[in-house]
């Protein structure tokens, strides 16, 4: 065999080939197809016609899409605040106790390993108007939760987000806890001598010290909330009357119920650009030495 085929450099490429091949085949190639298909009006069967940017123009007129984008923004903001605050507080409290730490950690983390479908079934039952909490209140003669929050326009999105947050926040606790345990104890001891309160210690020692991991958790939340799908699809299918429709759900119904291949690809491309901009933004921040 010629030498350049057996050199260590060549061999190391052979070892990489399977992973590149399978990943390209499943992710990269269809992604490129999507980037091309978004310029067509293909419906999956007939001729493929090039339509330029028409799909994008239509997308910006699409009422449901606008609604879905709005819901995704609300979703992201909710996830950036509620679970983050709860997890920060809980992680901080956990660092202060000795007994039962492992128990708490296991309990908080547990829903994160459960399947989305299981979590949804639990909460669909609890929020069920005639069973669950609603039924329990009814038995006590109290008219509360008489209608499922998943079935009401005003609450559907928040109820779905509640279930997803319930499953997610324990994950953040563990992430913050790892960061907090890396903080040098001597800092807290010095603060104790100065007579700092618990809140001051949190504000002036813990928070600045865990900043890298904290910023990272925010990026993860922003990126993960873009393709959010399972909980919405299982619990409400985006309804009632699109009141909990999110972008991924809109794409899914365009793609697999209406077979609007070109249009669905356009939505996918928009999601990809959005994620790309966010990743790029943080990459630039990091380049500029803004330690995140």
């Amino acid at each position: 065999m010629p030498k350049f085929l057996t050199s260590i450099n060549a061999i190391s490429w052979y070892f990489l080939f399977p992973v590149i091949f399978i990943h390209f085949f499943v992710v990269a190639f269809p992604s490129i197809l999507s980037l091309l298909l978004c310029l067509t009006d293909w419906n999956g069967f007939g001729r493929i016609n090039y339509v330029g940017l028409e799909n994008f123009q239509e997308l910006f007129r699409d009422r449901v899409f606008k609604k879905a984008v709005k819901h995704n923004i609300i979703w992201t903001v909710m996830f950036l605040t509620i679970p983050v605050i709860v997890a920060l507080v809980i992680a901080y409290l956990l660092t202060g106790i000795k007994r039962g730490q492992l128990f708490y950690r296991l309990v908080y983390f547990f829903p994160y390993i459960l399947a989305s479908i299981v979590n949804c079934l639990i909460w669909r039952y609890i929020f069920h108007p005639r069973h669950g909490l609603g039924g329990w209140f009814e038995n006590q003669g109290i008219d509360f939760l008489a209608k499922s929050p998943f079935a009401m326009k005003e609450t559907a999105l928040y109820a779905v987000a509640w279930v997803d947050m319930w499953h997610f926040w324990g994950f953040l606790v563990i992430i913050y806890l790892t960061g907090m345990y890396q903080v040098d104890d001597s800092l807290y001891e010095a603060a104790d001598i100065e007579g700092a309160t618990k809140f001051q210690k949190f504000r002036y020692i813990t928070l600045p010290m865990i900043r890298p991991i904290f910023v990272l958790s925010l990026i993860i939340i922003i990126i993960w909330s873009v393709p959010t799908f399972d909980y919405v699809y299982i619990l409400t299918m985006g309804g009632p009357a699109y009141s909990s429709e999110v972008v991924a759900n809109h794409l899914y119904s365009q793609a697999f119920q209406r077979m609007n291949v070109g249009y669905a690809s356009t939505i996918g491309v928009m999601m990809f650009f959005y994620v790309g901009i966010i990743v790029g933004f943080f990459a630039i921040l990091r380049r500029m030495g803004w330690e995140v």
Binding site: I8, I11, S12, F15, L16, P18, V19, I22, H23, F25, V26, V27, A28, F29, P30, S31, S34, L37, V86, V89, G96, Y104, V107, Y108, F110, P111, I113, A115, S116, V118, L121, I122, Y125, I126, H131, G132, L133, G135, W136, N139, W166, F171, I174, I175, T178, I223, V226, F229, Y233, I234, V247, L251, A255, S265, I267, G268, M271, F272, V275, V279
Partner: protein, 280 residues
């Protein structure tokens, strides 16, 4: 003295908050557990509490009416198939990046490629992939889904295994080379036996994601006979909509294997899942 008492009181408050938050997780899970052993006649009068009459037959009904033997086999096939394919390709790649040529251009190129791969939302490629799978006759087959799952988990697995292999002492590989070991032997005889802990962690996380996966499962498997547990449970909620005992038992049957594995390997699960997010 005063501060000591203050400390103690504040620690009670800490525990009170922590227990309250733990209850918000435990109570809903308990409701599910109670429901799974509750006869359907009792749901109206006793929606949340422990059943007056325990009915374990719900599990039997779920198993038989839901055809769970078949479904468990399907899910298990997906998990095992994905583990074999995914760990093979990721292990080879990680070995190459960490041991064979850690300073080569490959690390940058492949590393960047996989990083971009992670940040692509599945929705960008799911429809073209669906059409590709249709033309390749991979749609509605378990092997088709195994290929997808292996690819989706490959970046995470490669990074995790690589970071472990980087810590292996290079002297071991040098010594094996002097003894005349081939590159493949370096992989199978030196790298693999030494990195079993990271393979175990990766295997646990991959099993978890495959077992729980929903989007690709409902999209790529159409025939009921081949459906894995997550998508069958989704059809259950409409098929047995009012039979909460049966649906709850079916949910617990789905969660049980994961919960048991979690109890045994909690540290690995937690470390693997959090490192997947913070390093990937």
């Amino acid at each position: 003295m005063a501060t000591a008492r203050f400390r103690q009181r504040s620690s009670y408050i800490n525990h009170a908050i922590l227990i309250f938050m733990a209850l918000t997780i435990i109570l809903p899970l308990l409701v599910l557990a109670f429901n799974s052993i509750k006869p359907s006649s009792e749901f109206g009068a006793n929606p949340l509490g422990f059943p007056n009459e325990i009915r374990l037959m719900n599990y039997y009904d779920a198993w038989v009416n839901g055809n769970y033997t078949q479904i468990f086999t399907n899910s298990l096939t997906l998990v095992i198939g994905t583990l074999i394919l995914n760990l093979t390709v990721s292990g080879l790649a990680a070995f190459s990046l960490a041991v064979l040529n850690p300073k080569g251009i490959q690390t940058i190129v492949v590393g960047l490629y996989l990083l971009v791969g992670i940040s692509i939302p599945a929705q960008l490629f799911i429809l073209p992939l669906f059409l590709m799978w249709k033309t390749l006759y991979l749609l509605d087959t378990r092997i088709g889904l195994i290929i997808i799952y292996s690819a989706l988990n490959a970046p995470f697995a490669t990074f995790l295994i690589r970071s472990y292999m980087l810590q292996l002492p290079t002297e071991l590989f040098e010594a094996a080379k002097l003894d005349g070991a081939s590159v493949m032997q370096l992989f199978t005889r030196v790298a693999l036996p030494l990195s079993w802990p990271v393979f175990l962690t990766t295997a646990l996380i991959v099993s978890l994601t495959v077992w729980n996966e929903f989007l690709f499962a409902i999209t790529f498997i159409i025939t009921d006979e081949y459906k894995p547990i997550s998508s069958i449970l989704f059809t259950f909620q409409s098929r047995f909509a009012n039979d909460y005992g049966l649906v709850s038992a079916a949910s617990i049957l789905m969660a049980a294997p994961i919960a048991i594995l979690f109890m045994f390997f909690q540290r690995r699960f937690i470390a693997g899942l959090t490192s997947g997010a913070t390093k990937g």
